[in-house]
């Protein structure tokens, strides 16, 4: 009976670890889809316009974004060599990475929120290895919260 209890504890621990790793895998799937979608979009747009966009109108990945209210006063100190920056804000701010921006742009086909149309799912399928497609189908209906065995 004691051994049973110990095994049950071990089982729960493994379940938690697996859920965490599954969540990490989902995030990686979203990253791959978002990145490839972005590249495809930009490639198509450049083909249509027959030229790249002006270099001062784009930001290359990777980057992070700090966003704050437009009323916020930002004080910035920069070292001469630009190796160090110090920002002081008089109001709250948020920080987001480029993948978050891509998700907000819709580059992850709505998979991050489980709202993925059949057309978007088809596009997403073409952007990841076949072995991971079962995860994609589950993610299209909402994040996988329990341990999922394809």
């Amino acid at each position: 009976a004691q051994e049973c209890q110990n095994l049950e504890v071990e089982r729960q621990r493994k379940l938690e670890r697996i859920k965490q790793k599954q969540s990490q895998l989902q995030e990686l799937i979203l990253q791959q889809i978002a990145f490839k979608n972005l590249v495809q979009r930009n490639r198509q747009q450049e083909q249509q316009t027959s030229r790249p966009p002006p270099s001062n109108s784009v930001i290359h990945l990777p980057f992070i974004i700090v966003n704050t209210s437009k009323k916020t006063v930002i004080d910035c100190s920069i070292s001469n060599d630009k190796f160090e920056y110090l920002f002081n804000f008089d109001n709250t701010f948020e920080i987001h990475d480029d993948i978050e921006v891509l998700k907000r742009m819709g580059m992850a086909c709505g998979l991050e929120s489980g709202k993925c149309s059949p057309e978007d799912l088809k596009i997403a399928r073409s952007l990841i290895p076949k072995a991971l497609e079962p995860y994609l189908t589950e993610m299209a209906h909402g994040s996988i919260n329990n341990v999922y065995v394809p």
């Binding site: 051994e3 049973c4 095994l7 049950e8 071990e10 089982r11 493994k14 670890r17 697996i18 790793k21 990490q24 895998l25 990686l28 990253q31 791959q32 990145f35 490839k36 972005l38 590249v39 930009n42 490639r43 450049e46 966009p53 109108s57 784009v58 930001i59 290359h60 990945l61 990777p62 980057f63 974004i65 700090v66 966003n67 704050t68 209210s69 437009k70 916020t72 930002i74 910035c76 630009k82 190796f83 160090e84 920056y85 110090l86 920002f87 002081n88 804000f89 008089d90 109001n91 701010f93 920080i95 480029d98 921006v101 907000r104 742009m105 290895p129 072995a131 991971l132 341990v147 065995v149």
Partner: protein
Amino acid sequence: KEVLDQLQHLKAQIEELEMKEKDLDQQKIWLQQSIKNVSDDPTNSRFAYVTHDDICNCFSGDTLLAILAPSGTQLEVPVPELGQNGQKKYQVNLRSHSGPIQVLLMNRE
């Protein structure tokens, strides 16, 4: 007998979970490598950009700072503290050891 059966059942479940965990580890490594290959590919990295409009549309009305920094650059955010004027101070400190940091100020205007 019930306890013995439960024991067997748990052992079998744990074995299955171990295999599942191994599969997940393998898939993660595989996908991380795939992402690295895709993003390092010169034909893809040429198109790996977003426009200012793309970013502004995601954060409507806000003031935005886009930060491009070498890999390994440290971003440090201390817990907000009350300043001498009674207002909270919010800070971001960036430190690079391998190259200059670029910061772009953006807003809709």
